[in-house]
């Protein structure tokens, strides 16, 4: 698997040993992983690099999992977020799902199930992105008819602004 094909994964957990052990295992499964131990660092790295999927712990000091989920979904619309928590109650699962989480998994979670969920989240992201790109292509094609070059540029700028 080449670097381009690897799933770019952001792992956020304040349990450093858990984070390290899981990172090592996922690396062997050809994931490209960026591990961070808190929500603040997660926001910083997500501004610099593009991630496909984030696996986020629920209870962390500072910005917790729910808050991070809200922030990340707002600024990275196609990023799929999996919540991994030792406090995975039904209420938490409902709240996180409403906020846009791809799935809520209970810790400890079987490694195979985690890999399966990350892969499914990646596929969901690609599908949503493809649909969005297809819509955009259709919009661009429709613009090409009956517009001056300057008019086309104006409409493209408007489209980009709408997607921010």
């Amino acid at each position: 698997m080449t670097d381009i094909e690897k799933i770019h994964l952001l792992m956020v957990d304040d349990e450093e040993k858990f984070l390290n052990a899981l990172t090592e295992r996922l690396k062997l499964k050809f994931f490209d992983i960026t591990p961070v131990t808190n929500g603040e660092d997660a926001i910083k790295v997500a501004k610099k690099a593009q991630f496909d999927v984030a696996v986020v712990d629920l209870q962390m000091p500072g910005i917790d999992g729910v808050e991070l989920l809200k922030i990340m979904k707002k600024s990275h619309r196609f990023l799929e977020i999996i919540i991994l928590s030792g406090h995975a109650t039904i209420d938490v699962a409902v709240e996180c799902t409403k906020l846009g989480a791809f799935k809520v998994l209970e810790k400890p979670c079987s490694f195979d199930k985690l890999v399966e969920t990350i892969t499914a989240a990646y596929e969901s992201r690609m599908k949503k992105k493809f649909e969005k790109d297809t819509d955009r292509m259709k919009q661009i094609q429709s613009l090409a008819f009956g517009q001056s070059p300057l008019g086309i540029l104006r409409e493209l700028k408007k489209m980009d602004d709408d997607q921010k």
Binding site: D14, E15, K17, F18, A21, L22, E24, R25, L28, Q59, M60, P61, G62, D64, G86, H87, K107, P108, C109, F111
Partner: protein, 226 residues
């Protein structure tokens, strides 16, 4: 203490017992998760080794020491769980302030918002004749309120001394001034009243004055029976 207060305290006690057990189970889940992933990683390495891939022996050493450390952490957590469970053995008894504080700090340490905490170790231990479970409840609630309010980088210092033969003085102090949010709340006030404890707060400290001989508490909790 009237029946209404006893009922309230019992109800709160059950809630407290539940919330502490929830945080202990969360801690144990974390420990199991680390052991599970580290053991899984060892298994992955074994499979790779069978395929002829080589890796540093230090990787194996790190894994085994990590598992051993987590097992020790698990034993330590279970010891605290056991100590906490035994705090309901006697409704009122001679209770060590140093032990109660140490356990409360450990139990609140499982919470994600816990802050660095130091208990003054030079102080001679003091015992009070009180309800160990309610005292644990009051100190736990106090610590939670302080942790939620103080700056993330702040350190909490705890000291205690005998104010006079009848009362013990516990001081919780922190560096950066801050107001404790909604504290003491109604439940904490009821527990403090039941213990005959007084809470006074400034923006850098909280003082807890505890009665040494809780005779009225003893009578209320044991129905006056010896």
């Amino acid at each position: 203490m009237n029946q209404h207060t006893i009922d309230l305290v019992n109800k709160q006690g059950l809630q407290f017992f539940g919330s502490v057990n929830a945080s202990i189970s969360h801690e144990l889940k974390n420990i199991f998760a680390i052991i599970s992933e580290t053991a899984g990683f060892l298994n992955d390495l074994t499979q790779l080794s069978k395929q002829g891939k080589k890796f540093e022996l230090s990787v194996l050493e790190n894994c085994s020491s990590s598992i051993a450390e987590e097992i020790e952490r698990g034993f330590d957590t279970i010891r605290q769980m056991n100590q906490f469970a035994h705090s309901v053995d006697d409704p009122v008894t001679e209770t060590s302030i140093a032990d109660t504080l140490a356990l409360a700090v450990k139990l609140t340490g499982f919470l994600s918002y816990a802050k660095k905490t130091q208990i003054e170790t030079s102080a001679v231990d003091i015992t009070v004749f009180t309800s160990p479970f309610l005292l644990q409840n009051l100190i736990y609630r106090t610590l939670c309120a302080i942790y939620k309010s103080v700056d993330a980088k702040d350190t909490l210092n705890i000291a205690f001394h005998e104010k006079n033969p009848d009362t013990v003085f516990l001081t919780f102090s922190w560096g950066s001034p801050c107001a404790l949010t909604d504290f003491p709340d109604r439940h904490t006030t009821e527990v403090a009243e039941a213990l005959g404890a007084v809470i006074s707060i400034s923006d850098t400290s909280l003082d807890l004055t505890v009665t040494r001989a809780g005779d009225s508490l003893s009578a209320a909790l044991t129905d006056g029976k010896p």
